[in-house]
C-alpha cells in the first residue's frame, strides 16, 4: 500500500493561511486562559494533598462528606474516581504538609476514615506536596524545557544553519502552546507526567521537523538552480507520506494508552495525543515556512 506518491501540493503559497490558523488557535488558548482562570495545576505544582480511597461498599460522595465533616479537616473536596462501581473516591485538601508527621493531612484523613469505616476501606494513593516543592518543580520544569529548546537550537544550527534552528524552535513553541491551550480549554490537570509529555512532544515533533529539513538540505544540493521556495515545497511533498505514516503509528499507540492506560496516566496520554498531532502539522506547515520567511525567497546558493 502506498500514500501520497509524487504529490505536488502547493504548500508554500498557502503558508500564511496555516500560520494565521495556528495563531488564532493560540489566541483562543490565551483568551481561555484568562477567561477560565488559567491552567489547572495539580498538587504537584500547587501543593496540597490528595487521598484516593477505595471502599468495600458503596459510599456516596455526600455520605463521605457528612461523615468527615465533624473531623475539622478544613476545606476539602470529594470526587468520584473512575467508574462508580469501583467505589473509589478522591479527597483533595488544599493544605500541604510541612508539619510533624502526626499533623500531616494524609494522616488526619486516614485516622478519620479508620474511625468511621473501620476496615471497610483501603488507601490506594496519597500524594502530598508542600508549596515549596511545588514552586521548585515549576521552576525546574520550565528550566528543563528551556534547556531542551536551547540545546536543540544549537544542535540544529550546527548541523543545518540558524534559520533551520529558529524554524524548529518556533514550531516547538507552537506545539507546546497549542497543547497547553487544549489543557486550558478542557481544564484537565497539569501534573508531573504532563510535563514529561510536553517534553516528549518537543522531542517527537522536532524529529519530524528534522526529516523535512534533511530533505531540504539534500535538495539544496540537487536543485541548486531552483528557487528556495520551490525546494521547500518539493521537500515537504517528498517527505509527506513518511511524516504521516510515522505519526500515524505513534498515534496508534498513544490512542491505546489513552483508552487502556488507566486514569493515572490519562492526562499524560491526552497531552501526547494533542501534542503529536499538532507536532506533525507544525512540521509540515510551520517549521519549513519559518525557514523560508527567514531566508527570503532568494535562490539557494550554498548548502547549509
Amino acid at each position: 500500500m502506498e500514500l501520497f506518491i509524487n504529490t505536488h501540493y502547493d504548500f508554500v503559497s498557502k503558508n500564511n493561511y496555516f500560520i494565521i490558523a495556528s495563531a488564532i488557535i493560540i489566541l483562543i488558548g490565551f483568551a481561555a486562559y484568562f477567561a477560565l482562570g488559567g491552567l489547572n495545576f495539580g498538587i504537584d505544582f500547587k501543593g496540597g494533598t490528595l487521598v484516593q480511597v477505595k471502599f468495600n461498599k458503596a459510599v456516596s460522595a455526600e455520605e463521605l462528606r457528612q461523615s468527615l465533616s465533624p473531623k475539622n479537616l478544613g476545606s476539602y473536596t470529594i470526587q468520584q474516581y473512575g467508574p462508580s462501581e469501583r467505589n473509589e473516591k478522591l479527597i483533595r485538601l488544599p493544605v500541604a504538609i510541612e508539619a510533624e508527621v502526626d499533623k500531616m493531612p494524609s494522616v488526619i484523613v486516614e485516622e478519620a476514615l479508620k474511625e468511621i469505616y473501620g476496615d471497610d476501606y483501603s488507601i490506594e494513593r496519597v500524594e502530598s506536596v508542600g508549596p515549596a516543592i511545588g514552586e521548585e518543580l515549576k521552576h525546574s520544569a520550565l528550566g528543563s524545557m528551556l534547556v531542551a529548546l536551547a540545546l536543540m537550537l544549537i544542535y540544529i544550527a550546527f548541523r543545518f544553519d540558524l534559520s533551520f534552528g529558529a524554524g524548529a524552535v518556533i514550531a516547538l513553541v507552537h506545539d507546546v502552546l497549542i497543547t497547553l491551550s487544549a489543557f486550558v480549554l478542557t481544564q484537565r490537570e497539569i501534573n508531573l507526567p504532563v510535563i514529561a509529555a510536553l517534553l516528549t512532544i518537543v522531542g517527537y515533533s522536532v524529529n519530524d521537523t528534522i526529516v523535512v529539513y534533511d530533505r531540504i538540505r539534500e535538495n539544496i544540493r540537487l536543485m541548486s538552480r531552483e528557487k528556495f521556495s520551490d525546494i521547500v515545497n518539493v521537500s515537504v511533498n517528498q517527505t509527506l507520506s513518511r511524516t504521516i505514516l510515522t505519526s500515524g503509528t505513534t498515534l496508534l499507540v498513544v490512542i491505546a494508552l489513552f483508552f487502556f492506560g488507566g486514569e493515572v496516566i490519562n492526562d499524560f496520554a491526552f497531552a501526547l495525543l494533542v501534542g503529536i498531532s499538532v507536532g506533525t502539522y507544525s512540521s509540515i506547515f510551520i517549521a519549513a515556512p519559518v525557514v523560508l520567511a527567514w531566508r527570503g525567497r532568494t535562490p539557494a546558493k550554498k548548502t547549509a
Binding site: V129, G203, R242, T249, T250, V253
Partner: protein, 532 residues
C-alpha cells in the same frame, strides 16, 4: 552469504541474546517470595511510600547554643559571678551575657579566648556591660552537617528495624539556595504507611526530669508559683490527662541530665499491672548520673519525658541506677515502635515532611495490568499496520520492534533502572517510534525502486541515504529526553530513562539488525525483487 553479513548477523544475535539473558525472568512469579524478577519496579507499580523531609538543622544549632549557655551559666556560678543575665539570640546564633559589673565582662571575655568556636564582639565596639558571643559560621556549618548525618543514620537504623526490603534513605539536594537539607525515604511494598511515617518522623527525645509540681491546668500551676515559671523550671504537657480539652501541665526541672543518649538497651516488657511497657538499661555514664539523680530526690517524682510530653511520673522510692521502665497504657505495637525509635536514637533535629507519595499494592498491580494491556494493544496495532503496509519488509520491521523491546528491557534490567508507570508509557511510545526509522528507510527504498533501480541497489541506497536523517532526528529527540532526565524527579526520571534507552535501542534494531535480515533475504541469488 558473504562473510561480512555473517559477522553482522552474529553481532545481532549476540546483542539480542545478551539482552534477553539480562532480562529473564523479568517479573517475580510470586510477590511475597524472594525477589527473582530482573526488572526493578517503581513504587507506583509495586506499592510503597515515598517521602521527602526537611531536616530542621537550625534546631540542632539552637540546641547547641542552649547547651553552651547552660554550661557557661554553671561556669559563672562556680566563679561566683552574681547578677548576670544570659540569653540565646537564635537568629544571630549568639549568646548574650548582660552583667552589672564591667569587670565580670572583662573576665569572661578572657575566658572566651580559648573558645575557638565562638567569636566575641570586643569591648571597644560594644557596651561595657554586655558580651555577645557569636557562633562561628564554620562551627554552625559543622553542627548542621553532623545533625544531617546523624538524622540519616538514625532513620536508616529505624527502617532497618521495620524490616522493609530494599529501602532507600538518602540525602536529596534541595533546588533552592540556602534551603534546609532534605532526606528522601522510599519504602517499597510497605503496608502500614501510618506506622512507618510515625517511626521515621518521631524525634524520640527521651529525658528524665524531676517533678516540681503538677499535673494541673497551666493557669493553676502558674498561680501557685507566683504567676511565673521559676528560672530553674520548665512546663511540659501531660501526654494523656486533659481537663476541658486543655492538656494538663507539669512543672519540671529545667535541666535534664539523663537522656536517651545514655541508653544501653531497650526492649518491650510488661509493667506491674500487666500492661505493655518499654524496659531500658542505661550505660555506665548514664547509670552513674541516674543513681545520683534518684539518690538526691527520693520520695519526689521523676518525669519520663518523650518528645516534650510527660509519659509518666512515678515516685522515686529508692536509688535507681541501671534499669527502668517506661509505661503509659501502650498497646503492644506502640510499645514495640517506641522501643525501635529509642534503640535507634533520637533525631538531632525534627524532620518535616514536605512531599509524600504513597501507592497501595492493589493500585500498583492495577497499573501493571493496564500498562501491559496498553503495551500489547499498541504493539499489535503497529505490527499489523507495518505488515499490511510494507508486506515482507514490514514483517522484518516488526521483528525489529521485538528486538527493540528486548534490547530496551534488557538494558533497563542490567542498569538496575527502575520501571515506573510513566516508564511503561515510555516503552509504549518507543514501540510507536521504533518503526519510524524503518518507515524512513522503506520510503527511500520505494523512491529508489520507482526510479527503476534494482532491488539490491535500492535497499543499499535506501539505508545509506536514510542513515543521516535518522541520526539527526534521533539525536534531537535524545536531547529532549536528556533534558527530561536532568529534571529527573521520581517517576519522570523513569520515563526519561526508558525513552532515552528506547531511542538508542530502536536505532540499533532498525538500522542494524533489520538491515541484516533484509540483506540475508536479498543475498539469496533467486531473489531480485523486494517485497516492500
Amino acid at each position: 552469504m558473504k562473510l561480512d553479513l555473517k559477522i553482522r548477523a552474529l553481532i545481532s544475535l549476540l546483542l539480542v541474546g545478551a539482552a534477553f539473558y539480562m532480562l529473564f525472568p523479568p517479573l517475580d512469579p510470586d510477590k511475597d517470595g524472594p525477589k527473582k524478577g530482573k526488572l526493578n519496579l517503581g513504587l507506583d507499580l509495586q506499592g510503597g511510600m515515598h517521602m521527602v523531609m526537611d531536616v530542621r538543622t537550625d534546631e540542632a544549632v539552637v540546641a547547641e547554643l542552649v547547651r553552651m549557655k547552660s554550661s557557661w551559666e554553671n561556669q559563672l556560678r562556680r566563679d561566683k559571678v552574681k547578677n548576670v543575665k544570659v540569653e540565646v539570640a537564635e537568629e544571630d546564633r549568639a549568646i548574650i551575657f548582660t552583667f552589672d559589673n564591667p569587670d565580670d565582662r572583662k573576665n569572661l571575655e578572657g575566658q572566651f579566648r580559648d573558645e575557638s568556636s565562638f567569636h566575641v564582639t570586643t569591648a571597644a565596639e560594644a557596651d561595657a556591660f554586655q558580651l555577645i558571643a557569636t557562633m562561628q559560621a564554620a562551627r554552625t556549618q559543622q553542627i548542621k552537617e553532623t545533625a544531617l548525618d546523624q538524622a540519616l543514620m538514625t532513620i536508616r537504623n529505624r527502617i532497618d528495624e521495620l524490616g522493609v526490603s530494599e529501602p532507600v534513605v538518602q540525602q536529596q539536594q534541595s533546588l533552592t539556595e540556602g534551603a534546609l537539607p532534605r532526606i528522601l525515604v522510599q519504602l517499597p511494598g510497605v503496608r502500614d504507611v501510618r506506622r512507618a511515617k510515625d517511626i521515621i518522623g518521631r524525634t524520640a527525645l527521651l529525658e528524665f526530669r524531676i517533678v516540681i509540681d503538677g499535673p494541673m491546668p497551666e493557669q493553676e500551676l502558674l498561680d501557685s508559683h507566683g504567676g511565673r515559671v521559676p528560672s530553674n523550671a520548665k512546663l511540659f504537657e501531660d501526654s494523656e490527662h486533659r481537663k476541658a480539652g486543655e492538656p494538663l501541665k507539669y512543672m519540671l526541672q529545667k535541666d535534664a541530665e539523663v537522656t536517651g543518649a545514655d541508653l544501653q538497651s531497650v526492649r518491650v516488657d510488661k509493667d506491674d499491672m500487666g500492661k505493655w511497657a518499654v524496659a531500658f538499661e542505661l550505660n555506665r555514664a548514664g547509670s552513674k548520673k541516674f543513681a545520683e539523680l534518684t539518690q538526691a530526690n527520693i520520695e519526689k517524682r521523676l518525669a519520663i519525658v518523650l518528645d516534650g510530653k510527660v509519659q509518666s511520673a512515678p515516685v522515686i522510692r529508692d536509688r535507681i541506677s541501671r534499669n527502668g521502665q517506661i509505661s503509659g497504657n501502650f498497646t503492644f505495637e506502640e510499645a514495640k515502635d517506641l522501643s525501635i525509635v529509642l534503640r535507634s536514637g533520637a533525631l538531632p533535629a525534627s524532620v518535616v515532611p514536605v512531599e509524600e507519595r504513597t501507592v497501595g499494592p492493589s493500585l500498583g498491580n492495577d497499573s501493571i495490568a493496564r500498562g501491559i494491556k496498553s503495551m500489547l494493544i499498541g504493539a499489535l496495532l503497529v505490527v499489523a499496520f507495518m505488515v499490511v503496509w510494507y508486506k515482507t519488509a514490514g514483517f522484518l520491521a516488526d521483528l525489529g520492534v521485538v528486538c527493540t523491546l528486548i534490547l530496551l528491557l534488557g538494558s533497563l534490567a542490567s542498569l538496575h533502572a527502575t520501571l515506573t508507570m510513566p516508564g511503561i508509557a515510555g516503552i509504549v511510545l518507543t514501540i510507536g517510534m521504533a518503526v519510524d526509522a524503518n518507515v524512513l528507510i522503506y520510503e527511500r527504498v520505494r523512491e529508489e525502486l520507482r526510479q527503476g533501480k534494482s532491488a539490491r541497489t535500492a535497499v543499499a541506497n535506501g539505508y545509506g541515504r536514510a542513515f543521516i536523517t535518522i541520526f539527526d532526528s534521533n539525536i534531537t529527540t535524545l536531547i529532549a529526553a536528556i533534558a527530561l532526565l536532568q529534571f529527573g524527579i521520581g517517576p519522570i526520571r523513569g520515563f526519561a530513562i526508558t525513552l532515552s534507552i528506547g531511542i538508542v535501542s530502536s536505532m540499533i534494531a532498525q538500522i542494524f539488525i533489520v538491515h541484516v535480515l533484509m540483506d540475508a533475504i536479498l543475498a539469496r541469488k533467486t531473489v531480485n525483487k523486494v517485497s516492500i
